[in-house]
């Protein structure tokens, strides 16, 4: 099971990093979401993988799964979900007002230089 989970995290991270290095906004957003999935699973495993173990204290149970990473993952999921929504809206706004969705679009150019002589006229 360790191998399976570790491979899943690794694959998600690799694909996420590849996508965030793309030039257009949409793949980058997908890449960021994949990275957050990877980190959520990673956080979950940071409390060790214990199958069939309850996370809540109960009578007659000796082996518990660590409950803290589950709380951490919940927080991380909520935050990353909201942040994905924010980044989608912002990139949509940027795309609609700029007419292109390249992440590295050129900055605006300076206004044409006016010669001092023209100004004096």
């Amino acid at each position: 099971m360790e191998f399976l989970v570790a491979t899943a995290i690794g694959a998600l991270t690799a694909v996420g990093i590849y996508l965030t290095l793309r030039q257009r906004t949409f793949p980058v957003v997908i890449g960021i979401s994949l990275l957050t999935y990877a980190v959520n699973v990673f956080l979950f495993t940071s409390g060790r993988l214990l199958p069939d173990a309850p996370a809540v204290l109960r009578d007659g149970v000796d082996v518990y799964a660590d409950p803290l990473p589950q709380a951490l993952v919940l927080t991380a999921i909520v935050i990353s979900f909201a942040m994905t929504a924010v980044v989608v809206i912002m990139s949509l706004g940027s795309f609609l007002s700029n007419g292109e969705d390249r992440v590295d679009a050129a900055a605006d150019t300076p206004p044409p230089v006016r010669k001092p002589s023209e100004e004096r006229s």
Partner: protein, 548 residues
Amino acid sequence: MSHWIIAPVLLPAMLAAILILTARHDMLLQRVLSLAGTLALLVVAVGLFWQAADDTITVYLLGGWQAPFGIVMVADRLATLMVLITAILAPLVLLYAVGTGWDARGRHFHPLYQFQLMGIMGAFLTGDAFNLFVFFEVLLIASYGLIAHAGGKERLRASTQYVMYNLLGSTLFLFALGTLYATTGTLNLADLAVRVAALDPADSAGIRVAAVLLLMVFAVKAALLPLHFWLPGSYAAAPGPVAALFAVMTKVGAYCIIRFYTLVFPPDLSLTQGLFDTWLMPAALLTLAMGMIGVLGSQRIDRLVAFSVIGSMGMLLSAVAVFTPQGIAAALYYAIHSTFAAAALFLLVDVLRDRRGTVGAWLQDAMPVAGGAVVAGIFFAAAIAMTGLPPLSGFIGKLLILDAARDSALVWWVWGTVLTGSLIAVVGFGRAGSQVFWRAHQVAGDVDLQPQGQVRDRRTAPTALPLWVVGSLLALLVALTVLAGPVNRLLAATAAQLFAPQAYVAAVLTLPGKDFEGEVVPTTDNVVPDAAPPAGANQRLGADDEEE
């Protein structure tokens, strides 16, 4: 247990909710409430600072749960100092935003501003690593809204980049926290300090990865080379008052580096040897050089100031990387100075952008700005402060850093980079100033033209309030210069407290709180690593053994 520590977090949070729920349509009410809130915050911050000034470390257990199971807030000298800096900056910048009408150009400026303050205050006061992440997110989410405030093509594009970069930073932070938790089984800073120190050096791969990942996360926040790319574009595109408030955000990164690497990974810890002298110091020096060269190379005055912020962060972190009490004290002095200097410059750039007509922030020929002499004088003083020329506090800060670096192995590199970098920055600021203020008179020539700013300025003549705000920021720098002696003694005491983390650890772990059964138990044996670990940790350590 005093409840005042939670006030800097609660006050802006409640105020933001009240603003958005009840005062959404009444700009005047929003302004009054928001200003009153930041002033109240200042009073609370002064109180906390006063409380911590006699070396007491005040701990607040949220919900009364015993540390390390509950979340703690800790107010020591460093945290209260940073809270005080933010609380001084906040009303001034807010006053500027109100005075120039920036707050009315988009929606929800005041609630976002308050949430931003809540995040920054929380990040300074928290004693828990995961809670630090959450407060980072709060301040980032608010900053996403603020940076895109008032919209516009260029601003939206820059803020999209900013959001994406910081989302990646947050993901990295979570990876770091996961590694940290997997290795030590705790995320309470004081508890981490105890457990990291007790780790077996032979089995330390995880903790070393966590230490480097955390350093990278904070380097993103502090705009340290090569993770600085987000700063120039987004700070330049942000509305002036927002950029001025963000001057304290890079300091959050610096604060976290100082906090983590004095408390959790102290300099004498063998596990993380070489992290500072091998990695942090060269990165800081490269940041300094890059920032100052950027100042010289910028074509826009707002990018120029943004690059000077990067340069000042490099300067600050090169003092941190020495990792002696003297170095930390110098870095803190420079942090106070550069926060106010950068804020003053960003506000001034906003004034210039507004008054230079179509040319805006571009360093090109334009007609003289309205109120030229006063604006030019303020720019001159702010540039002197930022580049670290005498007589203002930048010079004293730089002297302290140079002095602190004398013990470092890289002393000549530090001296060379700091001094050459300052020279380049002086040339860069000189070029910008002469282009904006002197060249303008050449352009105008003898023709008696209306200065462009007055033609374009929104319906009214330029008001004096923005310049008063910038002036009072400069007055703070003058005060910092005049009071350099007492401030320095204070910062030396702060650094001394940081280098004796036992007091911090003891204060957090011995405060009695509720345990699992909800009973108040005064435990003192948590401090000793060999004493029986709490039940949750037992379980986790047991899981460790099974794997091996």
